[in-house]
Symmetry: C2
Subunit: 232 residues, 2 copies
């Protein structure tokens, strides 16, 4: 792991654990240099990654100021869904275990030839916050070089954790379409809401560090109690 990345991970951990609180100043770039035996460009690379991910903001002449950690459900952020939640009780239930299907006709995003040919791993999950169902997820993953995937279990573990640890797959960026819709019967049942209740529908395409491999989800979200929170 490169030096700038190590420093990034360390500072990120410190911020998340409250070593540096909201409004605090990080050590200055020169201090970080001498603390960790790095040069300024390297330190700046780590800091700009933190700025990028919303952990700090910088002000010329002043320093690196720690931002408030997102407390809501940070599903809009790049990092996995589970990560943004800290003390809240989030549980994941697999409704349909992963199985290989042919891609649905009229898919939400355009597919490459490679993706079309390789078929699709399909699974549905329900995610509960404090015992209340919040997300109904339908995931579509191209069946490209992911051995034994359908045999894996995801209960109480983020799909993205498995992808990262087992297949070294990381989400690098993505696109999404968001709508407010009247939920159909099946979705209402899963989310335990009245038929026709407004529901947030997200269609996401997530790019990974493996070029050409994208992960797709269709997510229905009950926002009655919790809003979707995101930074940009």
């Amino acid at each position: 792991m490169p030096y700038y990345r190590r420093l990034y991970e360390l500072l990120r951990k410190h911020i998340r654990e409250g070593v540096y609180k909201e409004g605090d100043l990080l050590p200055s770039e020169n201090e970080l240099c001498s603390l960790y035996q790095l040069t300024r460009p390297t330190v700046r690379q780590a800091l700009s990654a933190l700025v990028n991910d919303g952990y700090i903001r910088k002000q010329q002449g002043k320093g690196s100021i720690v931002n408030k950690i997102p407390q809501g459900i940070g599903i809009l952020s790049v990092s996995g869904t589970t990560t943004a939640l800290k003390n809240q009780n989030l549980k994941t239930i697999t409704i349909e275990k992963p199985r290989v299907i042919t891609w649905p006709g009229n898919f939400m995003f355009g597919l490459s030839e490679t993706e079309k040919e390789s078929g699709c791993i399909y699974m549905t999950r329900l995610r509960l916050l404090n015992e209340l169902p919040i997300f109904y997820d339908i995931s579509y993953i191209p069946n490209i070089n992911l051995p034994r995937f359908t045999a894996r279990k995801f209960d109480n573990r983020s799909l993205f954790d498995v992808l990262r640890k087992t297949y070294q797959l990381e989400i690098t960026s993505g696109e999404q379409k968001i709508r407010a819709i009247k939920a159909e019967q099946k979705v209402c049942d899963f989310l335990q809401i009245r038929t026709g209740h407004p529901v947030l529908h997200m269609e996401r395409k997530m790019h990974t560090n493996r070029p050409g491999l994208n992960i797709y989800s269709s997510i229905y979200c009950n926002t009655r109690e919790h809003a979707i929170y995101g930074t940009f």
Copy 2:
């Protein structure tokens, strides 16, 4: 304007105008160096800003690959709402002209003391896409050093354009809460939809380059025809 910024603006313009199309490779970093008489760190700074804003992705050993330009309604991106739309006919109507009010009780985000003391500029606008109302915007701006703001006109011009050009205010980042709700009567009237139709509700806090000055909006969005599109 710094060199890296100039190169960023130029390449961004070229991508938006189609000089480089989706999937194309930009000139290599070394080519850009000799083309514009810059050094590689400077070129890389410009490119990483383009990666950041989703215009390109990079692949080691290959090059900088141009991404698809977002064609939807790019309200989730940092840049102003109007910018992401290209050939579509977007019109803005001011419903309530900017006026100074006291901050509403139970405001959607916590306010600093400075913000509370300085009062609030309030305005509401309706934005139409191809003659159809899509967004109903309520904006709240702290009345801090913005001379003659209430006298300005915003018809058919992005609020953010005025803020940038008149007051050198730029949005640097922000946070938002998103919900699917049943629209109340007034909102339905503005958006020309049936009472109780699902509507997307966004509450946004936008940080600016002027430390301590944030812009707030509450946006109701009709997503029946158009989805909100964003990259991350």
